[in-house]
Symmetry: D2
Subunit: 267 residues, 4 copies
Amino acid sequence: MPEYPTALGASSRDRIALLGHDLTDEVMGKVGFGELAFWLASQRRPTAGETRVFEAVLAALADHGFTPTAIITRLTYLSAPDSVQGAIAAGLLGGGSRFLGVTEDCGRFLHQVLATVTGEHPLDDAGWDALALAAVHARREAGAFVPGLGHHVHKDGDPRTSRLFHIAAEEGLFGPHLSLFAAIGRVHPEVLGKTLPLNGAGACGAALADLGLPLELLRAFALLARTAGLIGQLAEELRDPVANDIFLSVDLNNKPIPPSPLGITAA
Amino acid sequence: MPEYPTALGASSRDRIALLGHDLTDEVMGKVGFGELAFWLASQRRPTAGETRVFEAVLAALADHGFTPTAIITRLTYLSAPDSVQGAIAAGLLGGGSRFLGVTEDCGRFLHQVLATVTGEHPLDDAGWDALALAAVHARREAGAFVPGLGHHVHKDGDPRTSRLFHIAAEEGLFGPHLSLFAAIGRVHPEVLGKTLPLNGAGACGAALADLGLPLELLRAFALLARTAGLIGQLAEELRDPVANDIFLSVDLNNKPIPPSPLGITAA
Amino acid sequence: MPEYPTALGASSRDRIALLGHDLTDEVMGKVGFGELAFWLASQRRPTAGETRVFEAVLAALADHGFTPTAIITRLTYLSAPDSVQGAIAAGLLGGGSRFLGVTEDCGRFLHQVLATVTGEHPLDDAGWDALALAAVHARREAGAFVPGLGHHVHKDGDPRTSRLFHIAAEEGLFGPHLSLFAAIGRVHPEVLGKTLPLNGAGACGAALADLGLPLELLRAFALLARTAGLIGQLAEELRDPVANDIFLSVDLNNKPIPPSPLGITAA
Amino acid sequence: MPEYPTALGASSRDRIALLGHDLTDEVMGKVGFGELAFWLASQRRPTAGETRVFEAVLAALADHGFTPTAIITRLTYLSAPDSVQGAIAAGLLGGGSRFLGVTEDCGRFLHQVLATVTGEHPLDDAGWDALALAAVHARREAGAFVPGLGHHVHKDGDPRTSRLFHIAAEEGLFGPHLSLFAAIGRVHPEVLGKTLPLNGAGACGAALADLGLPLELLRAFALLARTAGLIGQLAEELRDPVANDIFLSVDLNNKPIPPSPLGITAA
């Protein structure tokens, strides 16, 4: 019979354990929710500074107004009000490579560049700039974008990025990923011939990586933040509904066109 | 052209607003994640006491070990590691009527009973007991369970319930839903002929309702808590994988049986 | 060690069984997909007539243009093109009580009415009309809608309903659920004071129930039909994309409003 | 005001169109479900031979017993029986890169190899073998697997592959993707030093690509097939439930271990 090891929740008749602690005596009423989420993911209790940076990241990613994920959740609730879990799950499914994926992509990219450094990390801005310059050159030669660079609205700078840099520095958590990311912000115009903003989603990825959280789950933290945002969207939909108007704005403006058969060899 | 009102996130070229505040100056680094989730759902900033009760509820619901939702998330990740969002969404879809629904069911039930009170709520335990007694009688006569009563493991009392009562009382947030729930705990043996524990999921529903959060979304808060738990499950799966063993324990113990046709009139 | 019985798929080193048959010799190339879906759900192979009625139902429910489910799938693909499974799953999550639920609700309602008949079912239209009249009266007195009555577009009659009646009759499969449903169409004006169409989703529920398929899964067949429709939506989105226009039509027409706090006692 | 073109479903007061045809007169009762699914995806009506190959593929992929997707759907239904759509959606979310992705991966791989051919495709086996040999060599040199090669159970040959080859040949639809796939089956031992089976999921991808269906959606057809299979799983769960036993087999065999903190720099 297989056994299934876990250090997370466990119950007995009169006690509930979580992460090796007593849930009721040591967690409830004593541990904030952001702190707990960090703890569950890393199996170590974060410091106050780590919690502050982590919660700043979650705040930055929680809601961006009428994103596809928000619209999806509202439409799903319109169509299936019997299942709040379905409305939230559907919205999270929009949290993929294009809208929420930058956080993960950026964290992974920075980590890969850092992994090429043998020995010590750079000690000053000049060192980080040299590493960043090589990395941006390599991406450009490979015909690839630099994750975390560019924003379709905040063209002069994403205000979340500078704020997150500031908070991480205040808490002594401006580590190698953020250092490299900041350096990319300084040096990329030299390679790309134009100045792009360091976007907030990328900065969040760098900050989460500096917190030692697993790269495979950076997108998951964006999804956690977004879950709170989607609940906000649902709460607003309950009071100021827009989903039916969105649906009708599409349905009533449909334009029938004749079928356009795919050729046999199309792809 | 329809317009879509929202008080949640909004962006301009150099500024991001959230709930009418500046995201970077007034939220990031200053507002905890539990506090923010409450704020997004209610559009009002909670007090420190409300945040504490709210986060205690989230802690109580975050993870219960190898629940179906946890197993689902791990199996989905095993099968589709390309999509973290799919693994989390699948786990949340297990957050329905049977496992996470008690929170909502209990909050709604208590609210319905309170709605029958004309004039003031009871002023003392005797008053609450009378109201509870009538409510439990009515459920019993209708052949219905009392939501929030009973637990398959914590048969002598769910430790989360007493802890949550304590925290709510400390914060001056032991309102009518919790008062009625506590009274049900006192009087139900008289009607049912046996003593059942007030379960933690039900207590969470009562506490959330006392915080003024919308009944339609009580399940959503359980899902938010569980999202953090599912990320913990994924993080552990990355290090101590069990999903493949679970899959094989089922697949290798399959027992082929002959088809058993449904009759024409079956239902 | 528990064992897990199943009559569905099973594999050995050189053979694959499905429903007690050899998948490659007896199913592939010989059994159509609608027929197979019926077989999997009922564990009995349908007749040609049953397959025809079943596939007519699936055709009736496959796609209705820009429904919420279609919009949801397109938006999810826009946002997360890395996960086709997520786009389809999200669309199906819109298949709940409001848009796809009528099929199930109507099948269950008809079944409940039939269950009240002691002895033989009615033998002629007059008998069915009497049963229908009583049922519509009972719903009206309970303040409840009659499932399957009414359509927001096909106000003079849903063309799918008459077509499905015709096909079922041709195949000798116009059973008690369809008979009762047709009678409701004849008698309801007498009770409700207005003539409503029998909608196609309701007719599909009646037809599926007459095929002996499980009531608990009537919605699931609507979802199967819709899966084919959602793939059609994705295929069209690949060639004639509209999701980004939909997203922008909402996002660019957002209207910031001040937060409107929920009162403490709101619900 | 944007317009949204579509050639799929459209309704007027007394008529429903689908793909430019009258749904009730020309589709219902006349078009099988597999045929309709092909038509919706390609916007052209398939021939009888194309439908037969397509439905053979769907049959091959519909159900494989207690796969992760099947277990996920059953557990989700156990936990949230209020939402059939959630149970099916959750199962489909397991249809990712590892279990259902081979169909898409193989179709894309074969297409890429064919795209390197300038001028005519090979005219005989020798020509296909040469192309296949070069392709397998290239994968090996890149350290990559050849999609569609290998199976953990059918080590001596996947019976679905030979059957699908046979059906496609019978229908005159053994096109370049299948030809190349068959050639890979002949030549790979020369490069890899061992003989692996051509698996059925890969053969399905080759057959779908030869049908001219879009590569981006090959996984979607696997999901359509699996939807029918998951409904079968749910129908069986209703009669012979195993989900609670699966859940308990995990939960009761949990083995509490101490938390194992991630290091700060872990990834």
